[in-house]
């Protein structure tokens, strides 16, 4: 009896993913819990493991979009007499003996590459642009590739084709292409741009995560009424406290005392006072949150990710620092889970680590607020009518003016400022 490998429920609000690559070949042997495929969602790459050991039968191909609950593969019981060694065949697609007599996986009709028939327009586009059809997400009947699928693929890769114009000079399709399209690329290699580009340009298709970041940022700009308010914070007190307790904190808690814990606490207290900044618009309702799940923007290799410190309102300094350190390490390793990436209610973004003096952060929809931290710089300021030099930081809060009033956003930022300039306030929550 074959065991189905289905797309698991990845996280709230995530219903689809792209099957990036097979880690185990069709017909190969897999062991229990052995990763067989990589799925990439808008937020992270996830490995899917086999629930049982046996022979893996792919049901979907790399590049396809899959949905939660879709069967991507089946694991069939290994033929009797053969050892259930999970290692074995690597790239080998299974010997003929193993193949013989075994039924193809049922379900969604999938034709073998050699007999995969492309429609004439798809064939022309694929030939013209040197594309691997196996790597294009197909939406047609029975998993067929439509012309619009290829056009979308090209558009995403930054090579849109004019529907009517370009066709006029297109060469006719090579007839052999129908019978034997190029075999699919074995791994997740980005399709190579076939159209010769100018020496000055380098065309690289956007990764799905990058695409999604782009989409989300533009969506935020389109839907929310984003406004930003600024303030500056004298960081003397925080720096002083930090210097005083740095060693003992690290010894006691095993984690560095950074600025993030101060800012997190200050934000949590500010959000309790201004709950609109921790709320979201859902249809015509405003949804207020009992807790603060604080997104912390981390620049990782594959793009900016925003892991979430859950229930930040219930955490102490040490717990906050530990959690942020843990999430940052996972972000850099690319192993964040979808749950760790979703459900944030407010975001902290520290552009200061890159040296930014001032910026207007952009909302992370559907959140209604984000606080931008910047670099600490010694500047002359006036204190009691005296010019003094103080370590200063500009801070910015961007907010969705649809549910947050200007006064509320300004008040929030003033509260954050007061608490950081006078951290004892946080002790007494005043």
């Amino acid at each position: 009896m074959a065991i189905e490998i289905k797309v698991p429920r990845l996280a709230e609000s995530i219903s689809e993913a792209v099957l990036v690559e097979w880690l185990k070949p069709d017909g190969g042997r897999v062991g229990v819990d052995e990763p067989v495929a990589t799925l990439e969602t808008d937020k992270a790459a996830v490995e899917i493991a086999a629930a049982d050991s046996g022979i893996l039968r792919h049901a979907r191909r790399p590049g396809e979009t899959v949905h939660v609950g879709d069967v991507i593969a089946r694991v069939e019981a290994a033929p009797a007499g053969e050892p259930e060694a999970p290692a074995a065949r690597g790239g080998d697609n299974g010997g003929p003996a193993e193949r013989a007599g075994e039924p193809l996986p049922a379900g969604r009709p999938q034709v073998a590459d050699a007999e995969r028939v492309l429609s004439p327009a798809v064939r022309r586009l694929v030939d013209e642009h040197g594309l691997d059809p196996a790597r294009i997400a197909a939406t047609g009947k029975g998993g067929r590739l439509l012309k619009e699928d290829v056009l979308l693929h090209l558009e995403r890769a930054g090579r849109p084709e004019a529907t009517s114009g370009a066709a006029a000079v297109a060469p006719g399709p090579a007839s052999e292409a129908a019978e034997a399209p190029a075999p699919p690329a074995p791994a997740a290699r980005p399709p190579s741009p076939a159209t010769p580009t100018d020496e000055d340009e380098r065309v690289v298709p956007m990764s799905r995560i990058r695409l999604r970041i782009a989409e989300r940022l533009v969506r935020a700009q389109h839907t929310a009424a984003i406004l930003t308010t600024f303030n500056e914070i004298d960081m003397s007190a925080v720096l002083e406290l930090r210097a005083r307790f740095r060693e003992s904190f690290e010894q006691r808690h095993g984690v560095r005392l950074g600025f993030m814990s101060f800012f997190t606490r200050a934000c949590v207290l500010g959000l309790e006072e201004i709950p609109e900044l921790n709320a979201e618009i859902r249809g015509t309702d405003i949804v207020y949150r009992r807790h603060v799940h604080l997104g912390v923007a981390v620049g990782a290799e594959r793009g900016l990710v925003v892991p979430v410190v859950r229930h930040a309102d219930g955490l102490g300094f040490a717990e906050i620092e530990r959690e942020i350190a843990r999430l940052a390490a996972k972000a850099h390793a690319g192993t964040l889970t979808l749950d760790e990436l979703s459900g944030g209610t407010f975001t902290l973004s520290n552009g200061g680590v890159y040296g930014s003096l001032l910026s207007t952060p952009i909302l992370n929809p559907p959140q209604s607020g984000i606080l931008g931290m910047h670099k600490i710089e010694k500047r002359p300021i006036a204190v009691d009518d005296q010019v003094v030099i103080r370590p200063m930081m500009y801070v910015a809060v961007s907010y969705d003016h649809r549910i947050v009033d200007g006064e509320q956003a300004v008040t929030f930022l003033v509260r954050v400022k007061e608490r950081l300039e006078d951290p004892e306030r946080m002790l007494f929550e005043v």
Partner: protein, 465 residues
């Protein structure tokens, strides 16, 4: 006598009902099909699609022999034998209805003659020539179809004031025929009698023929029909009619003005209504909409569990092939299979000459949906085969999404449009782009080349014009 219990009782043996019964038999369901008329096939086979096409084909031959044969170098004395033409039509109907009986035997469908009434869920009483019997059924499928609608104040008399059924068997060619309604039925029957010699006037309340179909194509069909001598009066309706001797005096109202039109036969073809008379649907509490159609869910089940309905008695176009697909989908769903009807890809044909066939969105519908469309059009006058046939009327119009090139609709006025549309219905069914059709090889010289050229024209690169 103990009646056998059926898995499915189908009420009505039109194309929806009999096909559903056949599919049910194929799937191994114990099936009965109740039909009130002695012959199977319903409106379509007996008094609709089939006899009208038999007459359309016969009258086309007659018109060809009279008006076009000479151009082909054929000289002949042509005269009409209406009785023989009607006899041939009846023969075609007889053969096909008997064919359905044979198919029922093959799939072991029990044919029950009589008028069915659903007395309770799972129970159908049939009043037949051999008395009354009650059928027990796990499920009931209502496929009772539709009946012609009469105009208020104009009663059918079956001789001078007739509906489509009577117009298929007029005993002689009326000198003057007035048709009310420029839909498919009015145009087809108007064409039959025009070709056989009647002076035909078509009265339509809207401002165009075949309202609801692609306007530009409809207009081109109107011009072709006018050339054949059909006369159209738009924005008008028949408000009264009286028979005086052998003549019908029709009161034609257009806005405030009325005038009288005199004819030998008045054909009222203003539409059909769902037929549920005596079915017991109302008594059973089956939900109906304001037009008397049974309401069904996506499984074609009515508000009464176990009672299903398909075809003309439910929402959607009143087309035989739509009813067939629904019947198949309904039965497959009952059998636990994934039945589905793709309503966007249902072709619709007007069997005039030239024919008018369409599938998918009309230009007006596409624009109303706010879609950016690209239209490719190719006239038959530029198609080699059409010219060889002596056909010059009409064109193929293909509507595609301007961005994705996906075909959204196709509208063909021209020779054999009814056959040509199949290619484009298949294209829409498979989400094909216009380029896909343009790049498929089409035999030369054939009418389908016009389809290919129209597909090329979507991208502005038709070759033969």
């Amino acid at each position: 006598m103990a009646e056998p219990r059926f898995d499915l009782v189908v009420i009505g043996s039109g194309p929806g009902g009999y096909v559903a019964a056949l599919r049910a038999g194929q799937l191994g369901l114990a099936t009965a099909c109740v039909e009130k008329y002695p012959t199977l096939g319903g409106t379509c086979l007996n008094v609709g699609c089939i006899p009208s096409k038999a007459l359309l084909d016969s009258s086309e031959h007659f018109a060809f022999a009279r008006t076009q044969a000479a151009a082909h170098g054929i000289r002949a004395e042509v005269s009409l034998d209406l009785a023989a033409m009607m006899k041939r039509k009846d023969g075609v109907v007889r053969d096909l209805t008997r064919g359905v009986e044979g198919l029922f035997r093959k799939q072991k469908v029990t044919h029950v003659q009589g008028v069915a009434r659903i007395t309770a869920p799972g129970r159908v009483e049939v009043e037949g020539p051999e008395g009354r019997r009650a059928l027990e059924a796990q499920r009931i499928l209502v496929a009772t179809g539709s009946k012609p609608v009469a105009l208020p104040g104009i009663a059918f008399d079956g001789r001078r004031i007739v509906h489509s059924t009577d117009a298929l068997s007029l005993p002689e060619v009326p000198r003057r025929l007035v048709v009310v309604g420029a839909g498919a039925i009015g145009l087809e029957l108007g064409s039959v009698w025009r070709r056989l010699g009647s002076a035909v006037t078509v009265i339509e309340v809207m401002d165009r023929i075949v309202p609801g179909m692609d306007r530009a194509s409809g207009d081109s069909l109107r011009r072709a029909l006018e050339k054949q001598g059909l006369r159209f009066v738009f924005g008008a309706s028949a408000s009264a009619a009286r028979v005086e001797g052998d003549q019908v005096h029709v009161t034609v109202s257009a806005g405030e003005t009325t005038r009288e039109e005199v004819c030998d036969v008045l054909l009222v073809a203003v539409g059909r209504r769902p037929y549920t008379d005596g079915l017991g649907a109302r008594e059973l509490g089956i939900a109906m909409d304001e037009r008397g159609r049974l309401e069904v869910n996506e499984k074609f089940e009515t508000s009464v569990p176990g009672v299903f309905a398909i075809g003309d008695v439910i929402r959607g176009p009143m087309l035989a092939h739509k009813a067939e697909e629904e019947g198949i989908a309904a039965v497959e769903t009952m059998a636990g299979l994934p039945g589905h009807v793709h309503y966007e890809a249902i072709p619709n044909v007007v069997y005039t000459w030239p024919e008018f066939a369409s599938v998918g969105l009309s230009e007006e519908e596409a624009r109303a949906q706010g879609r950016e469309i690209a239209i490719g059009s190719f006239p038959f006058i530029a198609n080699g085969r059409a010219r060889a046939m002596g056909e010059r009327e009409g064109q193929v119009r293909i509507l595609a999404d301007a961005k994705t090139d996906r075909i959204l609709g196709a509208h063909i006025v021209g020779p054999r449009a009814s056959d040509l549309i199949a290619e484009l219905a298949l294209a829409i069914e498979f989400g094909a782009s216009a380029e896909d059709v343009a790049r498929a090889v089409h035999a030369h010289p054939t009418l389908p080349e016009a389809v290919k050229e129209a597909a090329l024209a979507v991208a502005g690169r038709a070759l033969h014009i």
